[in-house]
């Protein structure tokens, strides 16, 4: 539990005058579930974007398993074992959910087999199995553009899990999920990740979810980490309460 998997050091990134990352230092421990909380515009997504090669920091560096990944492409970073899901689900909307997952499964092997079908038993079975674990079997044959917000979110995460990452970065996995289903869904998700021994970083606005599932919480504020520690400690910090609980009401 004390081994560092991902280490960010002195990350800085500005968009015009906006400091989306202002000297971010953060180590993600192997096996932990780390929650990121903080108001909109604090730079949470930017951190995920930098960690997955989508954005390049102006300064600082990120290492993964001791290896420098700043400046690497998203493709190269995925191959090292870091996957992500998206705040706005990124699905292949003209494909079915099962095809979306199968394509992710296939991409682990490289997709360069031009004549054997994507829906070959090995890929299809793995896709179905994963969908079953996510409780999504009923929508396996639904086209992705016909899903409701919650299902899209889950399918998006399932695609990332299908890549068999060792580190999974999830951007607001429960936003758009109906409040009544939220806990059950997160429970399912957490079980899938624990089974697969995946280290997870997730941006979350629901403090109940954070309290229950996170090993540690990092509080983001204006491109900085304002607080970092176990949930019971951080979530009882008066300054954090003032900032974050305010956000939770209109998130």
């Amino acid at each position: 539990m004390t081994e560092v998997l991902l280490q960010a050091t002195g990350l800085r990134l500005a968009f015009g005058g906006v400091k989306a990352a202002d000297n971010i230092d953060l180590g993600v421990m192997k096996g932990e579930f780390l929650a990121i909380i903080g108001p909109n515009g604090a730079g949470k997504t930017t951190f995920i974007n930098m960690s997955t090669g989508y954005l390049r920091p102006n300064a600082g560096e990120i290492t993964y398993e001791g290896r420098r990944i700043t400046g690497m492409s998203p493709r190269a970073i995925v191959k090292l074992g870091i996957a992500r899901s998206f705040q706005l689900p990124q699905l292949f909307i003209e494909h079915t959910v099962e095809q979306n997952i199968a394509l992710a499964v296939a991409s682990r092997d490289g997709i360069w087999s031009p004549l054997a079908p994507l829906m070959r038993p090995r890929y299809r079975d793995e896709a179905r199995d994963l969908l079953a674990r996510f409780g999504l079997s009923a929508i396996a044959d639904t086209r992705a553009d016909a899903l409701n917000e919650g299902a899209r979110k889950l399918a998006d995460i399932a695609m990332a899990v299908a890549l068999k990452p060792r580190l999974l970065l999830m951007d607001e996995p429960t936003s758009g999920v109906a409040a009544s289903e939220k806990m059950a869904i997160v429970e399912t998700l957490v079980n899938v990740l624990r089974d697969a021994k995946v280290t997870a970083v997730f941006v979350e606005h629901d403090m109940d979810v954070v309290e229950r599932f996170a090993d540690r919480v990092a509080v983001w504020s204006q491109g900085r980490i304002a607080a970092l520690g176990p949930p019971d400690q951080v979530l009882n910090d008066p300054a954090v309460l003032r900032d974050v609980i305010g956000i939770e009401r209109h998130a």
Binding site: R75, A104, I111, L115, A116, M159
Partner: protein, 312 residues
Amino acid sequence: MRRYEPILALVLAAAMITAAIMAPWLRFVLTIALAKGIAVVGILLLLRAGQVSFGHALYVAFGAYVVAFLAPRLNDAVLLLAAAAVGAGILGLLIGLFVTRYRQIFFGMLNLAMSMVFYSLLEKLYHITHGSDGIRVEVMPVAGQALDRVAYEWSIFGIALALAFTVGLLVRLYLSSPMGEALAGIKTRETRLEFMGVPARGVLLSAYVMSAMLGGIGGAIIAMTSRHVTPLLAYWTSSGELVFIAILGGAGGVLGPFLGAAAFELVRIYAAASFADAWQLILGSVLLLVILFAPGGLWGMAARLLGKGGTR
């Protein structure tokens, strides 16, 4: 719907063979239709990725000129077809390395620009290409067999038909493979591909090279059939025709391009004979009706007639 494809392909082939036996001029028209159909399958590949090339006649013309140039030295239809396919593939790789950096209108227009450069070269380098006079192609041996004109024309028709089948089958397999589905993913969520470790540009480039080879094969058959190549083959209207046929036939399945090409050539022949100057008006109206009322094209209409919806 996919289940019916092979049966429909056989029915279509049988109808073409019957027509070709009944009227020699139809044999000529249908050979050209098969050649264009093969080239349009290349357009269909790019459409899968949501990209439209407005310059693909470049590869058709290139294939045709490969035949015209090499015929004196490499005098065999089979060898020339192979040379045209490989040559067009190499040209497709060189141009593709550049144009696959772009999407949508930029992709379409860059292809158009490339084809117009090639067109100008064919026009201007008179001492090599004979400019707009073009180059004649003589009847040539097929697989080592010297043939009379009728046997030759039948052979080219047969080769075109066999190639159409082979191309249709292979492209059908390709489109439902991981590589083909990733190609379709470029249309809807290209960045997701990158976050899955898939090089989207590489996927598009390989499809582009294939589509160039299909263009080259189509062009070679056209040269062997019309036995005369001119720069007009590379002109932008020829590229537009390929896109026209793709939309007319429908991009939902590999039969679409062949249905579209056959319909296009037949309408053109009849309309040109009956209404001389108005055939473009007729083609335009047909395209308008297809886009408005049958966006799946002829193939989509056939699919609906056969009951099952969903053309993928």
